[in-house]
């Protein structure tokens, strides 16, 4: 519109704009060319000759092209709008104050920061109740810490301190940061973007910690895959996570991980890269070692911030349908900060984590160690003699183990014979711990105290025992609620259970996730609207506030209306000399609804009958109504990475 006139009123059409637009634009002042210095020199011949090149007015253009003045003004201003690139304004932000424009270094802003739709979708899992988020931020439970900022802190402060000691290498904090940075830059170079999911299936090796720090440093989200998983288990997880790359070990005798991953790459649409962390990479796969060697060591420009997603873990619980847990740095690291005083970790500590880093418990231990600037002592695979040998030689001061680790060492005799004198504190977690197991470990540590911790992938540590408390609290209970957390036991009717009465444990706190990623059904059943997470664990709290886990809600056997909690019965059966481990699960029954079936993995060269089990239970004062009514001998008990029995995988013959 010019002078308030519409284009039709000045005799204009779109075709005319198309026809004359470029010519008018170039004749106007929008492009100015001058040869020599004719005006200053008053060289009239040149001035006249160059008038058009210098840019002429609308009325002059109109005369030249045979258009009206209004038409030229209309077309010129329309062309100025159509050719205008709004985004060039952003270049201002990179200029001055010591910064200079360089064509070769410039990346247009719209191309600088991009997130794939999958990355945005993943962020929707971080949908926290705003009141809770506001509270955690106000109280400082959530802050700006990231894993990279912790690594930077120690790499700057104590660059020569040992960060990681594993069978595949020893890394100082400076070396760990350097290798992680190089990997991070290489990942960006191969097209991994901030917010992309990078899966990993590696044992506890230095290669794992480098991958962990590298992926997180460039803003990737690390999704852990447990070592026993094979293609069948991994494919749905990789698809659910929309993983862009996977890091795995090299081919072993019984498992060719690279070949498995390359085959999965053909099936999982988002999966682009297979990175082999140990040994040589086959064709079509990348080598982690090469990515580290070839990567540049400059700091990452668009580093992640604390509210970004950091890890994506699939719950290892006994559920047959794993759920995707996304932790931001805020939920993940808050737990470490809050629990730190309980452990009193310092940079002088050497921390041995029994659980694998592919499990949230393992990552929690790794982050704990990093937070303190201590040394991670790595155990890639568990065996009783291997664990004791590592303790004797690595001399850890702090140990995190699962009850099954300790129980296995007890049964093999290594616990009593080993030298555990270096340990000052040992935390048992991962599943309910029989008291005799905890007492046995404490007895084996002449200078150390046992404590227990309860946590889940969804919340990390929620309950703990103090290490300076009485032995019965530390060995027989899970202690109290972790500071800043809230816990309650809820009865079937929804009421809060009084002290001493069993109910489902619900927990609320700054490390509890907002919900599972892309699993509305699970979210509906596991989360209340006000921040409580229904753990599925049965628990009761005594008058002193100490909590005991009494079982799993879904493990209860409903025998004709009578609920049988199998935990105590399993503990008794586990003490039988012929038993390595046991689990009781329901089998359907036409009359009673459910009956109890006991699954037993025997000690080598042993046998056992149902009658012998029942006699053993009778000897141990277990009521007859709780006795199992069927026995299944299993060659190998199905276990989670934290050596918890997967009851869903137990089926009667």
């Amino acid at each position: 519109m010019t002078r308030g006139l519409k284009r039709s009123q000045v005799g204009m059409s779109e075709e005319m704009i198309q026809t004359y637009g470029d010519t008018i634009f170039d004749l106007s002042h929008n492009l100015q060319i001058r040869r020599g210095d004719p005006v200053r020199e008053l060289n009239w011949e040149e001035i006249e000759k160059q008038k058009e090149a210098a840019g002429i007015s609308d009325v002059e253009i109109a005369r030249k092209l045979g258009l009206t003045h209004d038409q030229v003004t209309y077309i010129r201003t329309i062309m100025e709008r159509r050719r205008f690139n709004r985004h060039n304004y952003h270049r201002l932000y990179d200029l001055g104050g010591g910064k200079r424009f360089r064509t070769e270094r410039f990346v247009p802003h719209p191309e600088r920061f991009t997130f794939r739709p999958e990355a945005i979708a993943l962020r929707k899992a971080l949908d926290f109740d705003p009141r809770s988020a506001s509270k955690y931020l106000k109280l400082g439970h959530w802050n700006g810490d990231t894993v990279s900022s912790w690594l930077d802190k120690w790499a700057d402060k104590t660059p020569d301190a040992i960060a990681v000691r594993g069978p595949d290498g020893i890394l100082t904090y400076a070396e760990q940061r350097d290798s992680a940075r190089r990997l991070a830059n290489s990942l960006l170079d191969i097209g991994i973007q901030k917010g992309d999911v990078v899966a990993i299936q590696l044992p506890n090796l230095a290669a794992f910690t480098t991958a962990y720090f590298g992926v997180l440093m460039m803003g990737g989200v690390l999704s852990t895959m447990h070592m026993p998983y094979r293609a069948g288990e991994m494919k749905p997880l990789l698809e659910h996570a929309c993983a862009r790359a996977i890091i795995c070990a090299d081919a072993a005798e019984n498992y060719d991980a690279p070949a498995t991953m390359l085959a999965l790459r053909d099936e999982v649409t988002t999966l682009e890269h297979v990175i082999v962390a140990t040994g040589d990479a086959p064709d079509n796969a990348l080598s982690l070692r090469s990515l580290i060697e070839d990567g540049t060591s400059h700091a990452i420009e668009n580093a992640p911030v604390a509210s970004d997603p950091a890890i994506l873990c699939f719950t290892s619980g006994t559920s047959s349908a794993p759920k995707a847990v996304v932790h931001s740095y805020q939920t993940m690291l808050a737990n470490n900060r809050i629990a730190a005083p309980i452990y009193g970790l310092t940079a002088d500590d050497v921390v041995l984590g029994g659980p694998p880093f592919t499990h949230a418990f393992g990552l929690c231990v790794l982050n704990f160690t990093l937070m303190a600037g201590a040394t991670s002592l790595l155990m890639p695979a568990f065996s009783p003699p291997g664990l004791i040998d590592l303790i004797e030689n690595g001399k850890p001061t702090v140990v995190f183990v699962a009850p099954a680790h300790v129980a296995a060492c007890m049964k093999s005799g290594h616990l009593d014979s080993g030298d555990l004198s270096s340990i000052r504190i040992a935390t048992i977690s991962g599943s309910a711990c029989p008291p005799d197991v905890a007492y046995a470990l404490e007895k084996a540590m002449p200078n150390g105290a046992v404590g227990q911790m309860w946590g889940m992938t969804e919340c990390f540590m929620g309950l703990h025992t103090p290490f300076d408390g009485p032995a019965d609290i530390r060995c027989e209970t899970l202690g109290g609620t972790t500071p800043t957390f809230e816990a309650r036991m809820v009865l079937e009717n929804g009421d809060i259970a009084p002290d001493g009465e069993e109910g489902e444990l619900e927990i609320r706190g700054c490390s509890v996730i907002a919900g599972y990623f892309n699993n509305a059904d699970a979210n509906r059943t596991a989360f209340t609207g006000d921040g409580w997470f229904k753990t599925g664990d049965l628990a009761c709290r005594d008058a002193n506030g100490s909590v005991q886990i009494t079982g799993r809600a879904k493990d209860l056997i409903n025998r004709g209306g009578i609920k049988i909690n199998p935990v105590d019965i399993e503990a008794v059966i586990d003490r039988h000399a012929a038993v390595l481990m046991s689990a009781i699960a329901p089998i359907p029954d036409d009359v009673l609804g459910e009956r109890a079936c006991v699954y037993v993995e025997l000690q080598p060269d042993n046998s056992l009958t149902l009658e012998e089990i029942c006699s053993w239970l009778e000897e141990n004062d277990i009521a007859k109504m709780k006795w199992p009514e069927k026995l299944e001998i299993v060659a190998r008990m199905p276990l989670t990475p934290t050596r918890k029995i997967i009851k869903g995988a137990l089926k009667p013959t």
Binding site: H29, V39, I56, E80, F84, R86, Y89, R91, G96
Partner: protein, 306 residues
């Protein structure tokens, strides 16, 4: 206004230019109005604004302080408002001419021609200054430079008073030796090299003089002239697929600045990014371009007078 017929043009010119210098102009001169009439595009000649104008007086004020060249461009953009000082002097000079000599005068509006849109000024103050001999065209998009005062802001006064015009500058300080050296090595002078939208190009002849200056003003405008963005943002918002996209378009920080400028804000976003002048050795390193040096010169001169 009493018309005076016994005006000495030379004395009058001195009075007016002295007034400008006393009020803060670094330089002032009289442009040849006949030359402007021949060179300026039709519709933008002095006679198109005021046919009775007989003389055009041009003055320049100092641009940035030395400190200003070291701040980020998004802040430096606001320094375009220093040109107000030039306008104030021109405004006062117009009153002086009318009061003292009884001849009509106007302070030449530096604004855009409302009929031609926001990229076309009523008059080219740059042409006035060039012909008045207080600046010469540079390779940096014809921005005028002065060998002593470097980069300046200009203002003009039209008057019925006939004054003897000054000649254009004898020499053009652009390009300097260092700029020629860089051009010989890289094909670009500093202003070309560091232009963030690469809107400048050109050539230097064998003698080290400007052979060609090319200035893509449209690209330059994309850096700062956000008036084009306002309707663009609104049009995009109307076409937005959903409320989320519409909210992003209308209420992101950068676009909200547009609304701020339209409502309560002023300054900035209307000038240039200044990169070509920030790197120009004449613009900010000429002997008297530096206000600190100017002060020292003035003090020394006053000392001499004393």
């Amino acid at each position: 206004m009493a018309v005076k017929n016994d005006i000495d043009p030379a004395a009058a010119k001195k009075t007016i230019l002295d007034y400008c210098l006393k009020k803060g102009a670094l330089v002032a001169g009289v442009a040849d109005i006949k030359a402007i009439e021949r060179i300026a595009p039709e519709g933008h000649r002095p006679s198109d604004m005021w046919p009775r104008a007989k003389s055009v007086i041009s003055l320049g004020v100092g641009g940035q302080t030395q400190g200003a060249w070291h701040i980020p461009a998004k802040a430096l953009g606001y320094f375009g408002s220093t040109e107000v000082r030039a306008y104030t002097i021109a405004y006062g000079a117009a009153f002086l001419i009318e009061n003292k000599f009884g001849k009509r005068a106007i302070y030449c509006p530096p604004d855009m021609d409302t009929e031609a849109g926001p990229r076309v000024p009523f008059q080219s103050l740059k042409l006035h200054a060039e012909l008045a001999g207080i600046g010469a065209r540079s390779l940096a998009g014809d921005i005028l430079l002065h060998p002593e005062f470097g980069y300046m802001y200009f203002a003009s006064i039209f008057t019925e008073l006939e004054l003897e015009p000054d000649p254009p500058m004898q020499e053009n300080p652009c390009p300097t030796t260092s700029c020629v050296d860089l051009f010989r090595k890289t094909g670009q002078t500093p202003c070309m090299k560091f232009c963030p939208v690469q809107c400048l190009s050109g050539d230097i002849d064998e003698d080290g003089n400007q052979a060609e200056m090319r200035y893509d003003m449209a690209s330059c405008a994309e850096m700062t002239q956000q008036f084009e963005s306002v309707p663009g943002v609104l049009a995009d918002a109307i076409r937005a697929e959903d409320e989320e996209e519409r909210e992003d378009l209308l209420f992101d920080a950068e676009n909200k600045i547009l609304w701020y400028k339209l409502s309560v804000g002023s300054g900035g976003l209307l000038g240039q990014c200044f990169e070509c002048m920030r790197v120009c050795p004449i613009a900010n390193q000429s002997p008297q371009a530096d206000p600190i040096r100017r002060y020292e010169t003035r003090m020394a001169a006053e000392g001499d007078d004393a």
